[in-house]
Amino acid sequence: MPSTRRRLLAASALFGLAIPATARTLKEALPWSPNEAYPPERVVPGPWVFFTAGEAATVEAIADRVIPADELGPGGKEAGCAVFIDRQLAGPYGTSAWLYMRPPFARGTPSQGLQDEDPPAVQYRKGLGALTSYCTGRYGGRRFEALTPQQQDEVLTAMEKGEAKDPGADLRGFFEQLLNNMTEGFFADPIYGGNKDMCGWRLLGFPGTRYDYREVIAAPNQKYTLPPVALTGRPEWMR
């Protein structure tokens, strides 16, 4: 997520950071300056920011079972789903910085929604630890990424159904978190580190951020044939 100057100012009020700030006054002219904009920072593949090497290997293995590579296109690992999640967990999403996290924390009804004290970064650390403990206990000391694809599917299915238990974390809840973040990474704009070369969009036939489809509306029920475009353009424009 972008951390823009203006948003930082807002954050300083929320978290008591010592950043000098003054409120903006709107008077006589629109407060506009040339080229002022707040694009997101582009994720550059490279060393893991949040995950340990072991955690990253597990998440990449999960990505390839949730979204397997096949004749339809790349799988979750090649698409960069683990890179996406790594960078998200290192940002405000990982710490729930934008959410209401004041105590007291209490267990509510399902209709009252999220009441967990742990932000996603902590849930991943605990969840991946519990998953490793579950796998090594059940499969002769082997971690998730060392299992056969059939065994990996068996583990994920048990997590999804609430049959996989470990004292370290709620593995059913962690599965939902993983599934959500995997599909976010696969279908979000590639600028966030997943959906490499727009492989998720190509799978669907989503043409991306072209921003003008008047021709499509004028001629209904036609297959759209132009390749997708993302916030940073197309891969062939950058080579």
Binding site: M1, L9, A21, T25, L30, I217
Partner: protein
């Protein structure tokens, strides 16, 4: 606390109603200051076309919305439960910053039905009092549709709404909504062009004997210049409308329709990132002296003013009145008091139809792009056989098939793995949705008050929402959803995913940001917070705007009515109140 020089008017919140009322009062010669909780936002800076279409940032992580860390509310389904904070917004997504919810809205711009304005009287006349649901607090609006018509017209022409009239001065118009109240003239711009899925919906609905028409839309069908001289451009059906700012100046918003005229007006000043915490009163509590607000550094300021306009999002209007001690808080046990009373919502469902051999191309669309039938809304049909009141419109919208969110698969499809991938790829462009958008009545147990436990960043109590769906609404929604299934079947769906709404109401899945009530208007101070001119019964130099005024919620998106009420109220302030500042209606 530092005290600032006095102004004629202080406006709390710079969204649709705040910007409209500020501009009209500046033009009447008053000095106006607007205090806005969130940041300045504008088209070229905050949502240019190379930044705006970002589903993860805006829709999923909710960058464009109010963050719960800044302000949220607590929630429970019933009085017996302990409310807990909404830590992440889900069921509704609230605006923040200049433009408010007018930045991210879809643009579906409706008028309520004439019978909605006299809901209680009308239902009793037609069905008898015993027909109304138990514990309801349904009441008439303090004005008629006919009185509101010129103000609806005004707002629609400021926005440039694209649509087709169904009733011009009582004459039925082919192709429009045959159930709507009479309009003095047609919409300012013609309807949007409809694509594949809305076309299939309209054809199927007409074959079933219903009356399809294009949704009245704040996404422009053609270029338009509004009465303030603001110019809007034709919508490009980019597919990033709801939950996004428009980079094309094609969606009516305070930014595209009002703010440039307002900010250039010498009588106006706005302050952003400043949160009003209280409306200040004289010791006898009969008059407001201005507001207190806190800036980004935590510095507290007093802004004195002769007139206070409460123009925040409806939920926060109610909270401000409660925090300021204006009006008697509602007590649901004794059924006394008014502030926080008659909170209502809407009830929505969707039917996903899966088709063969078609290219829906729903990624090409806009927020208010689609075809509608109004045959089952309000009291447009005889409710006697059904045992419920209220209704819903049914819609074949093309409001964006964004890939993180809009990938429905037929029932029985796994949620991950090779089969999921295959079916997702096959279904994505062959799915169409028929939605229902229904009314929620007001009830004794549905209300807003201050939470006893949870506080905001300033140590002030959060607002507490107590709400659940009632049997009347669940019944109505099921009936209308069954009609949506009939239409999807007539469209040729080979399979369907039908999402009936079940109780209890949950704050988790997105439903609608159409929260109403809390500062209800009416003719009786015992059952309303403000009078028919939106003026506080208790503190006559305080006026309240927004959907918090609605006595109960109709089956339509609220912004058209919210905008009309802003023009209605500001005209009363300008032409009546300023000449003789005091109560406009005797209690």
């Amino acid at each position: 606390m530092r005290r600032l020089p006095a102004k004629d008017v202080v406006v709390i919140g710079l969204g649709w109603t705040g910007s409209i009322m500020a501009l009209e009062l500046c033009r009447a010669g008053l000095d106006v200051v607007a205090i806005e909780r969130g940041p300045w936002r504008d088209t070229p800076t905050d949502f240019p076309p190379n930044v705006a279409p970002d589903e993860l940032r805006n829709s999923i992580r909710q960058d464009i919305f109010l963050r719960p860390a800044q302000e949220t509310l607590t929630f429970r389904n019933s009085l017996e439960q302990t409310a807990l904070p909404i830590r992440r917004f889900g069921s509704f997504l609230l605006g923040n910053g200049v433009g408010g919810s007018g930045v991210h809205w879809n643009g579906q711009t409706w008028r309520f039905l004439p019978t909605d304005f006299r809901a209680r009287s009308h239902l009793i006349e037609r069905y008898g009092e015993g027909f109304l649901p138990p514990d309801n607090t349904i009441q008439d609006w303090p004005m008629s549709y006919e009185e509101m018509e010129p103000y609806y017209d005004r707002f629609e022409y400021v926005c440039g709404i694209s649509g087709k009239a169904g009733n011009l001065k009582g004459e039925r118009q082919e192709g429009g909504n045959p159930f709507e109240g009479a309009r003095q003239r047609d919409y300012p711009t013609p309807p949007m062009r409809q694509g594949q899925a809305p076309g299939m919906f309209a054809k199927a609905a007409a074959e079933l004997g219903f009356h399809p028409f294009p949704c009245p839309s704040a996404n422009m069908s053609q270029a338009y210049t509004n009465p303030y001289g603001m110019r809007l451009a034709p919508c490009t059906y980019c597919g990033f409308c709801e939950r996004f700012g428009c980079g094309n100046y094609s969606k009516s918003s305070p930014q595209s329709c009002v703010l440039p005229a307002l900010i250039r007006h010498p009588g106006f000043e706005g302050r952003t990132d400043c949160q009003v915490t209280k409306i200040n009163l004289t010791p006898d509590r009969k008059r407001a002296t201005g507001v207190t607000y806190v800036d980004l550094q935590g510095q507290e300021w007093e802004q004195p003013a002769e007139l206070v306009l409460v123009c925040a999002y409806g939920l926060f209007n109610t909270r401000l009145l409660l925090l300021s001690g204006i009006g008697q808080p509602y007590d649901p046990v004794r059924n006394e008091g008014v502030v926080g009373r008659n909170y209502a919502y809407q009830i929505t469902t969707g039917v996903n139809g899966f088709f063969d051999n078609v290219e829906m191309n729903l990624w090409a669309g806009a927020g208010a792009h689609g075809m509608i039938i109004d045959d089952f809304n309000g009291d447009n049909f005889d409710h006697a056989p059904h045992g419920f009141v209220g209704g819903a419109y049914l819609a074949g919208y093309a409001t964006n098939a964004r890939p993180i969110t809009a990938r429905p698969t037929p029932p029985g499809t796994p949620r991950w793995g090779a089969q999921w991938k295959k079916v997702t790829a096959e279904s994505y462009n062959r799915t169409a949705n028929v939605g229902t958008h229904g009314s929620v009545m007001s009830y004794r147990g549905s209300y807003l008050d201050l939470d006893p436990t949870y506080k905001d960043q300033f140590g002030l109590p959060l607002m507490r929402l107590t709400f659940d769906f009632h049997e009347n609404e669940l019944k109505m929604s099921r009936y209308c959803t069954d009609r949506a299934v009939e239409i999807a079947r007539a469209m040729g769906a080979k399979s369907m995913q039908v999402g009936y709404r079940q109780g209890p109401y949950s704050v988790v899945p997105y439903q609608t940001t159409h929260n109403t009530g809390g500062t209800v208007m009416g003719n009786d101070p015992k059952t309303s917070v403000v009078n028919r001119y939106t003026q506080s019964w208790d503190v006559p130099n305080v006026f309240v705007s927004g959907a918090s005024l609605f006595p109960q919620n109709a089956g339509y998106n609220p912004t058209g009515t919210v905008g009309a009420l802003a023009y209605w109220a500001v005209e009363a302030i300008r032409d009546r109140y300023l000449k003789n500042p005091g109560r406009l209606v005797d209690a």
